[in-house]
Amino acid sequence: MDEDILTTLKILIIGESGVGKSSLLLRFTDDTFDPELAATIGVDFKVKTISVDGNKAKLAIWDTAGQERFRTLTPSYYRGAQGVILVYDVTRRDTFAKLDNWLTELETYCTRNDIVKMLVGNKIDKENREVDRNEGLKFARKHSMLFIEASAKTCDGVQCAFEELVEKIIQTPGLWESESQNRGVKLSNHEEGYRGGACGGYCSML
């Protein structure tokens, strides 16, 4: 079964505390929703295989803790990630305002510059919306991110968010091809090599 998997992708979920990162993941992987989900400690990890355009991709999803006290741990997860899902809560403007900080952190710690970013506005099932859909869309465009509004509770847009992200990653060949060839090799020592290769592939495309 493992043979027909095209590649393994490292996906990271970041965003402020309480915006529903773990709920999104839980909805995506287990198709359940828990309104009382406890705060994540450190990081959570889940694997799911999805099929996009006939290509099977195994997603290794790292769901980071949003709480300030765990913030020091996050830099260690950015390395080698091919896709990142940045989540905010449409009912809390402050979580939207903090997005800039997250993007800065992403830029600081991420090891590749062609990482695919997806902005997700969560909790659209709630009444008291504070952030308009167009605001989110504008922000996403400005930072060349994919954008979707979702609700982990009602299942709206969750599947779509992950699928689109994976689709975009697969469409960016330099991002994952070298990775899949070198599977099983320790990333730490070969990181530089990857980046060179990935970059070269990307440039020739242009």
């Binding site: 450190g42 765990f70 741990l73």
Partner: protein, 640 residues
Amino acid sequence: MATKSQPHQRPWRKGTSQPERDEALECVGRQLAEPGKFAYAALCAISLASLFPEPEDSSYRTEVIESLVKWLDLSEGVLPAMLAFAGGLGGEGTDTFAQILLKEPLLEENPKIITQDLMSFSLKDGRYDARARVLLAHITWLLRIPLVELEALEEHLLECLNEEEEEESETAEASRKKKERRKRLKRYLLIGLATVGGGTVIGLTGGLAAPLVAAGAATIIGSAGAAALGSVAGIAVMASLFGAAGAGLTGYKMKKRVGAIEEFEFLPLTEGKQLHITIAITGWLSTGKFGSFTAPWSSLLQSKEQYCLAWESKYLMDLGNALDSLWNGLVNMMAQEALKYTVLAGIVTALTWPASLLTVASVIDNPWGVCLHRSAEVGKHLAQILLSRQQGRRPVTLIGFSLGARVIYFCLQEMAKEKDCQGIIEDVVLLGAPVEGEAKSWKPFTKVVAGKIINGYCRGDWLLGFVYRTSSVQLNVAGLQPVALDDRRMVNMDLSSVVSGHLDYMKQMDTILKAVGIKTKQCRLEEGGTLAVLSPKVTESQDQALQNDAPAEPSSLGQEENADVVHDAPWSWEPVSSHELCLRDSAQARVSDPRESLEAREQQKLPSREEPFSTNSSHPSDYSQTTDRGTSNPLSPTSR
């Protein structure tokens, strides 16, 4: 806080008498803030993944991580991430995690409490897995804690089990408890002291001590109590298992040429006790100074508890004499030969041997052939003994030269065939090994050995090349060249500058051990720091040794190196940190007894050998720090 003032005091022991105060002291891990705990567990998980990536070890990794999460009182929710770390994902975060952990307020002043905590954790089930010790050393290294601390901690643990005299402050009730515990200890000893096949059972401290530690800790930890009980039963199981295994030595009977092993016995090299042991295996015996199995190992001090394997002395003596006569008779010609082999390395091995040498070959071929077979059988027997855990459940380091290395080779080969072979052997050192040097035949050893596999070879060792020529068609001899095994464990060491001939493996053992990074008495001494007073005496006696060796020993290279070591004191170049200072202070106060016994032991045991240090009773403080500063040696974890 108490943790700072008495970092090494037996928390488990004191915990039994004053649980309410020591609860905090014991579970350092639990006191960390959650990010710290997470980083701690993640660091262990990532280290496990990098140290033991083999699929055979996956259940061990999972087991350790699951129980560590429980030990730290971390939420179950972190398990998926931890198991992902242990599965080899996310290894990039090591530095971040180490930094976070070191920034924990608890650790800022005293990072070694993490080592302490991890050790309590590793021992809580009453066994000390060799892999756990390698992990401990790795974490210690990641946190930039000197490796000395690890050994110091182990000694404190042991001390708490051995010494009973610091009871005066305890109440009557406490001493009653102690008596009960002692009774229990006795029972373990009775179980453990069963002997097999005439071989003295190796001490059982590790296996016995650990459950006691667990029992002590259990009163504090509570939940671990069940685990501790489990291991008490485990000891009994082990003892009975051992009886069965000891009877079933089937392998060697099949080979009618060699028949049964005639001699197999463990001789103590040092009298101390430690949570890890070292077994040294001699390659041959010769008349005179090196007439005993223990003679070459007189300076070895890798562990405080060391044994020497005595095997087939009759044949090894024949071999030694044959080697000597071969060497003495042909020394001139061989000097040229050796030169040739140094320059042309392996290629010449394929060419014919000089006729003059072949005429005397009969002298050596027979004893060599016999010993080759015997060493394989002895190795298999040793494997059975180690597998049956006669040494207790604690890590074992094996060191051997020449045929002794061959014993180790076959021991590992035999162990690799068994299921439960993991976590017993920590490091192995094979010096001038007359064994197959193909990487693929060494590959199975990675499963057995948790730490390092050190192959010490000498390209110009013509004697080894010669005696091995008829025994096997293989051109790859591990003792003549590096083993091209791609594994973090494999360490090849070219000893050509130290060893000028095969016989040097015995004569230059002290220097070789240092070159390989195994701790010797001298380097332990140097850790004490006051070497200046000792130096003249040391060199003097080494000069004597030089004179003694002179007739048979054309090269003085080894001695020169030896002397350099003495003067430059390479083991003490590190700046002494504040931790070490406080350690030394406390060590001086505590270790007075072991020091005396060490001296007495040396004096009584090795009267015939020059023993530069045994008579130095005027510098007692030199023995006070008997732990090592291991960061400079190859046994310290350098792989990631």
